[in-house]
Symmetry: D2
Subunit: 147 residues, 4 copies
């Protein structure tokens, strides 16, 4: 199961909570985005990004996100959420998420998120700082072409 996540530099482990299930007795569709968010925030923490951006008066904003549900989850189980950055633009980048669980050999869900770099003082999107792009490239062990 975990081999599915080997290309993901950031992985978070979260227990499935009984209260995350809805009337259909499966984990509610909304919770998957909480899982993705947890991996996204962990990714930012790994980069030390939250601190850097706060000092610079800028921060990451979620522009759009999506989820493709493959297998319904239920309690008890434990999920592992992988996050990686797959595309880099001047002011934004795209993340991919993969959700696997202890109960299933195949992926439970996959998702995407477009994160925009936002300047809080100017109230507009702004270039991703060089220091952050470099630390992403180091974490992903690749160089991004910026299109």
């Amino acid at each position: 199961m975990k081999s599915l996540l080997k290309t993901f530099p950031v992985i978070v482990k979260i227990p499935v909570i009984w209260g995350d299930m809805d009337s259909f007795q499966h984990v509610n569709n909304v919770i998957y985005f909480r899982y993705f968010e947890s991996a996204r925030i962990q990714y930012f923490e790994t980069l030390g990004w939250m601190d850097i951006m706060e000092k610079m008066g800028m921060g990451p904003i979620l522009g759009s996100t999506s989820c493709r549900y493959r297998i319904p989850l239920s309690y008890p189980d434990t999920v592992f959420v992988g996050a990686k950055i797959t595309e880099m633009h001047e002011k934004r980048f795209t993340m991919e998420y993969l959700l696997v669980s202890e109960q299933y050999p195949e992926p439970v869900a996959e998702g995407t998120g477009v994160v925009v770099c936002y300047d809080y003082k100017k109230n507009q999107s702004t270039r991703i700082p060089e220091v952050i792009r470099l630390s992403i490239e180091k974490l992903e062990d690749r160089v991004f072409e910026i299109d």
Copy 2:
């Protein structure tokens, strides 16, 4: 603001709750999917679908969903979520959601959801029952080509 929703046959009104905001002091990205879900369920209720499908041993399952965030929401505010069906296939259809709020003249967010008709006895996707497709066409006031 509400004129933005005039092409949506189902609209739900939900107050923004203080507790739906996160550390960034805006409504958390996950909550938008709760808004979409509320409109989706209301759509099914309007069709009387939940009852019909339960009797037939089948039900709607969310296959995928997405959200494009345009304006950050905050408390206090009230949102209106429109839902309409825009594409029909043999075993699934696509919904579109539009989120508007009392505080802004433009849409706050928009989303999509692909809903699959699922046979709980056979554990596989199944054709959308004729009675349901017809009631959707009546509610949407249009005829769908099925591709």
Copy 3:
């Protein structure tokens, strides 16, 4: 139903959301505290308290809370949450909550919350400012003995 709330100076109206139900197909026990919180925040807004306290570098902190569940809620329904302050101390006060719904003639739940006035600069509880105690007394239309 609403007559049950006539002694409550602050009342908020919240639709029951399908996604707030859990596997037992009733509104999850946790959500009731979200309802109470919404009434509590509305109470503070009514007093203009959030602004006053922010300027003073102090804020309300929830010290303890409780809920007594009487009737299980389910979707669809609409709840009304009343909040009033029933006891005043030097540095804290007690709120009572009453939850009623459109579906039932009797109260659905009742709760309490002890709110402590906290000085963020000194990191300790502090006296409730006179201006706030007076505005509470005006809203409650009574004078509190402070014990």
Copy 4:
């Protein structure tokens, strides 16, 4: 830290999720009841209770619950929630919860929950089955006087 939990026969470990924090940048008060619920459900699972009661057409219902907040939690952290049964009555029992975290040497919060045994066929509370009371006594390693 964990020694605080040594008298609790059931303990669950849950990571603090970034999205569980609210505008005050601490874990929202409502989430603590999600933590308690997770320990309560785990307690029932440990007893095999969910299955037994389902077969008997009865189940546990939360009658009331409370929380005393001692230390504000924030991300990142990991909490441990202990649950034990401290009082037994004919048709209900009282649970106590203790919440500790990796970041603090003292308890973060404590709570209580009164659980009522409910007969779903007769729609009324009912006696706790002997088999369940005995398995609770075994797990708690004590005999309860029933008052």
